[in-house]
Amino acid sequence: MLDRCMGARLPGSSHVDALEVLLQGLCGGLRETIKVHEICLKTGPNLGAVASEVHLCCSLSQPEPVWSVRHVGGAMRGAGADQLPALVRPVLEAGISNNSLRFMYSLGYKLDYEMLRTGFSFQLHKTVPIAVTITISVTAVHRLPKIHAVDDPQPVTPGLQMVQVSAPASPDNYSEVVGAISGLAEYLAPLVHLSKPGVPAGIVPTASTAAAALVSRGGITKVL
């Protein structure tokens, strides 16, 4: 699976509420709560052809924890990739049983860092011009003062949330998927400027006004 993503920073809780209203109208679907304990593991010295990194994710938003393994490859490079408004990278994910951390430690992996991500997400299912499911997540990142202590998280950037828009693609259709993500980004423009990860986007000057309007109306008509 190739993953396309764009991101932005969103300041202030009123902006977050407004974005949620906007997304509810755009996507029309269920809001999913995000509470993920993400553990980044790296190989010790001398293990593997090259040093490698893998992420264990434990979703804590359901009654029972759900574990998965995520491997993110290097971003697509070259002149063509530079022209794209979104980052393209190979991502592999697999569900795994709840003894996965002990398993990875047994394989020689070591804890590099960990964090707790909290927030929410929506999914937008598009059929035109191609069938694609776009995920928009709004999350805050927290550090854990003690190892695996998810009950006492501390925000890394208080007052700031990250907006990430991503969609799976294949080598055959990534340009269309990038187009779909860019199209969605335009609908979010009143509140956030989305850009390629690593490229500063800045804050929308009129975001506060737009946020106040959205929140006071309590919702918008779906525009697609």
Partner: protein
């Protein structure tokens, strides 16, 4: 899920194991009106750490075992015997492990054959061969008594069945593989994780027989 019991062929002293053994076992099943239903295949692999230097500088499991069942193609099972661990993952985990390159595949055994329905018994009869060769490493049976899901109750029924079924056989016998589920913290309810442990144990036994 009902309990599966594995048996491996132990030839009598002076007798060589061959594919003929499997043919005889299948004839015995068919003589009792066993009905052939489908093919089956289980792929079990042994992996070793991929270390850049010959002297190990990192603590890691010396051996990683993996199993995939043709009946459950969307799952992959790992086992670490020294660490007493069985892990269940989506099949994509194989692709992730290939990307990580921390363990290399050393050997793969294919368990393959035909499945039969014999009343309330489901029997898989097949051979164990080294992957990409016709190198026969063993003859195996997997016996499943469908009405019972209790490990201990089904063990007794299957043992009684096997005793009667192979009575009079002089060239050898099918010996039960004793699973050690409790050492691996597996839940009481039988599952594919239990089956995975049985097959990696059988693979390790097959390898050890070859060495001796």
């Amino acid at each position: 899920m009902t309990v599966k019991w594995l048996y491996y062929w132990q030839p009598s002293i002076g007798v060589t194991m061959s594919s003929q053994t499997l043919s005889i076992a299948i004839k015995r099943i068919e003589a009792l009106h066993g009905v052939k239903t489908s093919r089956w295949q289980i792929t079990a692999s042994q992996f070793r750490p991929n270390q850049r230097e010959p002297v190990p500088l990192v603590e890691c499991a010396r051996e990683l075992l993996g199993v995939v069942f043709s009946e459950v193609p969307d799952k992959y099972y790992f086992a670490l015997r020294q660490e007493h661990m069985v892990v269940e993952a989506d099949a994509t985990m194989q692709a992730i492990m290939e990307k990580l390159q921390v363990y290399r595949n050393r050997l793969t055994i294919l368990f393959e054959g035909f499945q039969y329905e014999l009343g309330d018994f489901h029997i898989k009869a097949g051979r164990a061969v080294l992957a990409h060769t016709e190198n026969l490493r063993g003859i195996v049976l997997e016996v499943d008594y469908k009405p019972l899901s209790s490990v201990e109750q089904s063990r007794r029924v299957v043992q009684d069945f096997m005793e009667v079924w192979q009575k009079g056989e002089t060239t050898g016998q099918f010996v039960p593989l004793d699973p050690n589920f409790s050492e691996f913290n597996l839940p009481d309810l039988y599952s594919w994780q239990h089956t995975a442990l049985q097959y990696v144990t059988l693979m390790a036994f097959v390898f050890s027989q070859q060495r001796t």
